[in-house]
Symmetry: D3
Subunit: 234 residues, 6 copies
């Protein structure tokens, strides 16, 4: 039984990085990673999101039509790109890394901070928080100002993010930090040690939740909001 993890953007480097940071997860199901080569190289804003969602849906459709469709899906972009649409075209559970991290934070903190990349993503994440209902548990969404594709492992980027997080955690009186981009997942342990409070990486959490949902036999509701798409009979 497989969990399909789909990176909806086209950055092969980011896929590799997320994969690496998940290598030590003990799971009961196998994982397979997928990319969307025709998507934008990173998802920064609404229009990137629509393009990526389009290609993500194509990937899900293709996997659903394969000989052994996945038992669960993970969407590996913190914006949860195309999440609701994907749930329409499969009965398997679909978990976004953004929602996974933010729901998980609700179990271990009272007031979590989300640290994203660019300011333009803040509104998108706030809208997601409203849709999930989690705004009441969120101290705020802050942007480091670093674009997604500059979040590589060099120390300078790390320091910028760490200091921005430290400052906002104090200002907002937050008690946990949620990493607002899959491209930061390799920093989770270092940040947790440096900041002295729980740091949550949605990639690992979403995969673990997908594993859990398979074990619990929980699948997406196929009535009303996530029903299979309508046949068009004009």
């Amino acid at each position: 039984m497989t969990i399909a993890i789909i990176n909806p953007n086209a950055s092969h480097f980011m896929t590799k990085q997320m994969q690496a940071s998940c290598s030590n997860l003990a799971l009961q199901n196998e994982t397979l990673w997928f990319e969307c080569e025709k998507s934008p190289a990173s998802i920064e804003g609404h229009s990137d999101g629509i393009y990526a969602a389009y290609h993500l849906l194509e990937k899900v459709r293709q996997l659903e039509n394969s000989a052994t469709p996945p038992k669960a899906y993970v969407i590996a972009c913190f914006d949860d790109t195309g999440l609701d649409a994907a749930r329409e075209i499969t009965a398997s559970p679909v978990i976004g890394i953004g929602e996974a991290a933010m729901h998980a934070a609700s179990f271990i903190s009272q007031n979590f901070l989300v640290m994203t990349t660019l300011q333009r993503s803040v509104g998108i994440l706030e809208r997601n928080l409203d849709h999930y209902g989690l705004r009441v548990r969120c101290a705020g969404v802050a942007a480091s100002g670093l674009p997604v594709l500059s979040l590589d492992a060099d120390e300078k980027s790390y320091d910028i993010v760490k200091q921005a997080a430290h400052k906002m955690l104090q200002a907002k009186k937050a008690d946990a930090l949620v990493l607002g981009c899959g491209g930061m997942s390799h920093w989770v342990d270092a940040l947790q040690q440096d900041l002295g409070l729980p740091v949550l990486d949605g990639v690992r959490i979403a995969i673990s939740f997908a594993d859990s949902f398979i074990g619990l036999k929980l699948s997406t509701s196929k009535v009303l909001g996530y029903a299979w798409p309508e046949a068009k009979t004009s």
Copy 2:
């Protein structure tokens, strides 16, 4: 100066019908109608929405690159498909027919009812209402159960919608009716007469607002949330 009206679905019939019901609008700018041939025939649910938004963005991009880009855009689907994304790729104002009708209703009623087609669209419209902030002025979103493509001019469909609207208006104590699908725009006068309260058709309203915005020289903010898409420099 032109207002580009884009039907994000592929139904030529619906485009024609909306065009007809707008023929008597007195405007200060010219209108041009466009369709998205590769889109789904109708937009019923999240995945239809992603596909349609993708093709809508392509159309907007193409128009922006034309010799005489439009001075304003109208997205002629009540779900306001791709609205935020379109605002990123143009500086001209972009008006969705859903938001136009619901904002307009706030000026002439206290508690408007939205009548949509299928139950699966209710959640999408409620999420839009939350995003626009207008949930507090909305008595509810109700579904007639009639699919978009069956909303043609025959009397039986009209009666189903009229009776569903009448029943919900009473139950929810609403004082205005918003037509929740461009495909109902030809019924606006008949419903207004039969129901005895204001009936709002987003298509006409969005076009009139676009005309107004051009006159007021109001254009989309290009800082922060609707800034031009990022150049990708990985």
Copy 3:
């Protein structure tokens, strides 16, 4: 066909100023301006508001009883003084300049800032925002500290407002500015140029929307909340 624009306060200077800043609006209907001589000279707080609303209602009643009642009304105070009450005593649409500007801002920005005059008006505007539902789209309401009647054209006042706006736009990460008083309408172009984002003046917008509503044949609902006043039969 006429749009009646009523300044609910007694400042003739402010009426003239607003009138001047609207002189270049291209409309399909005629406009007529009215003042309320017995009202307070400016509306700063709740009790000014009640007095002004009283005189505004008298003006509307008088116009309704005239030979050619207006086809639409604009209330030219950003507090939208007496708005709901006026809608009870006419079937013509009634548009407040506050609601017009804030609704319009929702179409071209994600997070608008309102700049008002005195701190005491902030709570009144926030309550309006809650009533309209638009708080979710508003980055905040800020006060420049300048009283209404000192908002004349001298450069010093302009600089105070510009700098207060600039500071708050940055702090609140807002992407548009709504001018929170009709007395600032002559600054709209200068501020837009100086601040580099859309600046919205409710006076012009409300008049343009009134023009649009007449064209759309949208009138106030006369059932339930805005029904004609009750006959008293004690």
Copy 4:
């Protein structure tokens, strides 16, 4: 030391009735009752409210300028007509009967129902609930359909209200009833007995709270939102 109780409408009968139903209240301060002869005979809707608020303010001003200004004010209309404006023009506490009843209900129930007169008042009371924050504790605002001036003591009116209340209490699973009009205050004991749960009459509660506030030396804040009106220096 006096509590001034002002009926903002012109119905002498209603004043007398409220006065009678408060005759057995044990207070530490004297009460004096006032009427607004030029107000509408009853307050049903927004425009009645503006006219009544105007005359109420005149009455408060007159009392403030008297030899022995009251130590507290009660506004004896459930809409809390002119409440915020009155608080600007006196430093004494001002208590509305609507807010008093609804706040009091929060101390003894989880989910109170408000029973008002006409449907047109429902939106006004809901807006007050939002302003006070008490919507979360309110099961709903229901209208009996009986106009204010027909709420006299005859048995038929009583039965209509009792049955409407009973039906809504069941439907909304409410655990207390708030009488949404001063004109019902004489029914409080009978309804409490017939319905088997707490029934709250704002008139008595507001007067008792005013008495309490005087004893506690609590007076209206005169900074920011309720500061004394501005001197106009145009």
Copy 5:
């Protein structure tokens, strides 16, 4: 007839202090003070709260079974510890000092600030505000950083609290101060004088409200949410 005032923590000193600061209240009913010797010495956080609520319930049960059960209860901890549970086991009104102060503040201010002791209590008070609905009227909950048991009468503590309050009142543009701990009740007059706006002490207010509720014959609803506990018949 008696009002039972129960301090749910074990600090005898604090009971004495609150008692002293209430000595000059003119009431129509007698007061009796009680302590919970087995409770934590102060209530700082969730687990202190559960322990204290347990012992408070025991005290209420004991009083209910006494020869002359109280006519009203006051819970003298600003967290309103055990408030809903206490209302299940008596029909007499139960008033928490936190809710009393915050509701009272709604009658005399637009935007009150709560000053509590430790940061860990902020979330608890915010949750109470949400439950009461009063978050909309609250400018914020701030912590002085002083633990409950250090709030004795020395001048240094007073200065810390006064300065923290002054700073937050300015920052949050609040127009009244609510003292967020019974242990500050002796400072109410000094703070009011030093800060120049209303300062509210829940202890006195809750007792006065309890007195008022007895006079109004308002008692806790015994249907639905506050019904008597279920008999267990397993």
Copy 6:
């Protein structure tokens, strides 16, 4: 490594039943079940909740002081009794079955219905929903009217619950059912089959999440809201 599952009520039968329904869960950690013998036999209302929370805290304290403290805790009452308090006295994650089920439902449905036992619990669960933020995803909380201790396996109880659920699912247009009491956990498969949509049992989900959190090394934040209890130094 162990997951401690604590039933905060005293019903041994219910513990056995929940244990049985979890027997087939594949986990990576061991589970140990505990009961609170001095607690009420079932938790129905606020005062039951306080008593049960008290004994639950004692159990957690005892386990924390044991030679091998658990790596995670599950609180097996749908009210999430004592949840926040327990999080203060351990650094291990603590998962309530109510929150687990309702968060999980957010991943597979848009609008879940909660079916609880008695009407008195509805307010408690709604308050939890507000605290978790999940009210926006919840179609409503309905009560079957069956007390907790009558939820044994007989067919009549099952039919009552099934029919109540069916009726409410239709009325509220919900797309998933959350079982609002640990005592219903043995019905999950039957109900899922009979109702045709996902049915969620918090007991299994909370245990699986606890297992997942251990694997993810996610533990409770020990700064601010869930910090270790204060040492009392009076």
